[in-house]
């Protein structure tokens, strides 16, 4: 147990060190521009998986949380000129509250009904923001980036590193949950909610906790996006694509282990970035759809499931 912890934190430190080193060594802006998006999707997929994977409650409202993160940052920046860390922390708090409220309202519903409720919530929130003039309304809002802080010499490089920090945070939280009593309880209620209750699992409270944590992380992932684009508008901030991509990444990676969504987000995110550059950004959606169908049919437990099956076979072969 302890040894895997050392490996994990060493890996995390190496990852952050590598990200920081990249910002210092690479002059070209494009890798950071593309890398930021991939990192952002890792955070989204990992946090989605806390509720969608461990608990099995398929949330189509990723865009609602992401968009609220964007607009929390926009509002704070316009109203008070708050610095980036404050924007992110506030977005996490807003996301937690939103997760709590949404969870209370919807987590009593099961299966497809919960999913539909999360789509409805996304539309309601988007409509509210579209009609809020102060943050730009439907036309969107332009933002002027403040000066960048050392050791970074470029704002996008800094955002890239900040998003890398969020990746480590999200993965550490998700890993902790998976390995703790909370993960066991979520897995139990995913398998059978009544049996879990009758074995002492407080199912509603656990689902709420998962929803709050997942919401806080997704909102935090959205906050730096305002400064990344220097612009925000409701139809892109609350775009359904965020919900679909996040879900696809988690499912393709596999939701049984914290590493699944990480792998899924890296594979799909990188593919999307390559396609955007080589063909067009429209092809992304097509490829996403095809990959999702392929995985659902051929490997319903995702890449993690494939790896486990392969290992089991090899062990049996040896035995």
């Amino acid at each position: 147990m302890k040894r895997t912890g050392i490996y994990f934190w060493t890996g995390a430190a190496l990852f952050l060190g590598g990200a920081l080193l990249m910002t210092q060594l690479i002059g070209n802006q494009y890798p950071f521009f593309a890398g930021y998006v991939i990192l952002q999707f890792i955070v989204l997929a990992v946090s989605w998986s806390i509720l969608g994977g461990y608990a099995g409650y398929v949330n189509f409202g990723t865009a609602a949380f992401f968009g609220m993160g964007v607009y929390t940052a926009v509002f704070l920046f316009k109203a008070t000129g708050a610095p980036l860390p404050v924007q992110i922390a506030a977005a996490a708090a807003v996301g937690a509250l939103m997760g709590f409220a949404l969870g209370l309202l919807t987590l009593r519903m099961q299966g497809i009904f919960f999913s539909i409720a999360t789509i409805a919530a996304t539309i309601i929130i988007e409509t509210a923001i579209t009609n809020w003039r102060y943050v730009g309304g439907a036309a969107g809002i332009q933002l002027q980036r403040p000066a960048v802080t050392a050791p970074f010499d470029n704002y996008v490089e800094m955002l890239f590193f900040v998003q890398a920090l969020l990746v480590v945070l999200a993965v550490a939280v998700s890993r902790y949950i998976q390995r703790s009593w909370m993960g066991r309880g979520l897995q139990a209620l995913k398998d059978d909610e009544l049996a879990a209750e009758c074995t002492g699992v407080p199912t509603l409270r656990l689902k709420l906790m998962a929803c709050v944590i997942s919401g806080a992380l997704m909102c935090a992932a959205g906050a730096p996006s305002a400064m990344y684009l220097q612009y925000a508008d409701p139809s892109s901030a609350f775009n359904l694509n965020y919900s679909v991509s996040t879900l696809a990444m988690s499912l393709i990676g596999g939701t049984a282990h914290w590493a699944g969504p990480v792998i899924g987000a890296i594979v799909l995110g990188t593919t999307q970035q390559l396609l955007t550059v080589t063909i067009s950004s429209e092809v992304n959606v097509l490829v996403l759809g095809v990959m999702l169908v392929l995985f659902v049919v051929a490997a319903p437990e995702g890449i993690i499931g494939l790896v486990r099956r392969f290992r089991r076979k090899r062990n049996e072969g040896e035995g």
Binding site: W181, R184, G185, Q187, A188, K190, D191, D192, L194, A195, A196, E197, C198, T199, G200, V201, P202, T203, L204, A256
Partner: protein
């Protein structure tokens, strides 16, 4: 068991009624179960046996009527709160946590409802898990996925998982249904040995031989009403019970 009658009951069900729309599944059911009793619950299909234990374990909310457990009114408590107070159950159709191993199934109970005055550390939880599995004859299956168990193993695992929540009252809902006669004896012996450890047991069963051998007292339900309650012999001799069962 006779002196148990004079104690305050472990479980008291008073005037319990459960309706599904216009259908009355339980009609004004009252019964006291003293600590340590082996209580058999019988009745034809659809007579309300499982509904009654769903009301006791909290899966159903009851309208009129109260459930009192160890002098506490638990009528409004959620199932997990009742489990933590000492009411455990198995299911008529086994409901294991299929994505987990047998050991992990038990760990859920130990994580969330273990006796925290005795079991504190992870090591103690694992020890308790292994000792329950050994007692249930499942030790060799600890690391097997719940998906791969045979019917009798599933039944035993459900009882083992219930035991992991350190129950004072264990409700066994047809734990022997679909088992061969040697397997029935095996599960019955298990339940007997649990009853010897101060666990009060309510057993729902269709296999009469098992009910007769097991129970101190038997209650027979028909159409949501109690039609007979008493010693096994009394209940079997009852005219209405015979009519309900044999349809004569």
């Amino acid at each position: 068991m006779m002196e148990a009658e004079t104690q305050t009951p472990l479980l008291r069900i008073s005037a319990l009624t459960k309706r599904f729309g216009g259908f009355t599944a339980l009609d004004n059911v009252s019964v006291d179960i003293p600590p340590g009793e082996r209580f058999g619950l019988i009745g034809p299909n659809g007579s309300g046996k499982t509904t009654l234990i769903n009301c006791i374990s909290g899966a159903f909310r009851t309208e009129p009527g109260t459930v009192t457990f160890r002098d506490e009114d638990i009528t409004r408590l959620q199932p997990h709160m009742r489990t933590r107070r000492g009411i455990a159950r198995s299911f008529q159709i086994p409901r294991p946590f299929r994505s987990m191993t047998v050991a992990e199934n038990l760990m859920v109970g130990l994580d969330f409802a273990a006796d925290t005055s005795v079991i504190v550390s992870e090591a103690q939880r694992r020890e308790a898990m292994m000792s329950i599995l050994t007692r249930m004859g499942l030790a060799s299956k600890a690391n097997v996925s719940a998906n791969q168990l045979s019917q009798v193993e599933l039944r035993k695992m459900e009882l083992a998982r219930a035991m992991a929540t350190h129950p004072k009252l264990l409700i066994s809902d047809e734990a022997m249904a679909g088992l061969s006669s040697s397997e029935v004896d095996e599960v019955l012996d298990l339940l007997m040995s649990l009853a010897d450890q101060d666990i009060t047991i309510i057993m729902i069963e269709h296999i009469m031989q098992a009910v007769m051998r097991f129970s101190d007292r038997v209650m027979c339900l028909e159409a949501g009403k109690i039609i007979a309650i008493g010693t096994p012999d009394e209940v079997m001799a009852n005219q209405r019970v015979q009519e309900a069962y044999l349809g004569t």
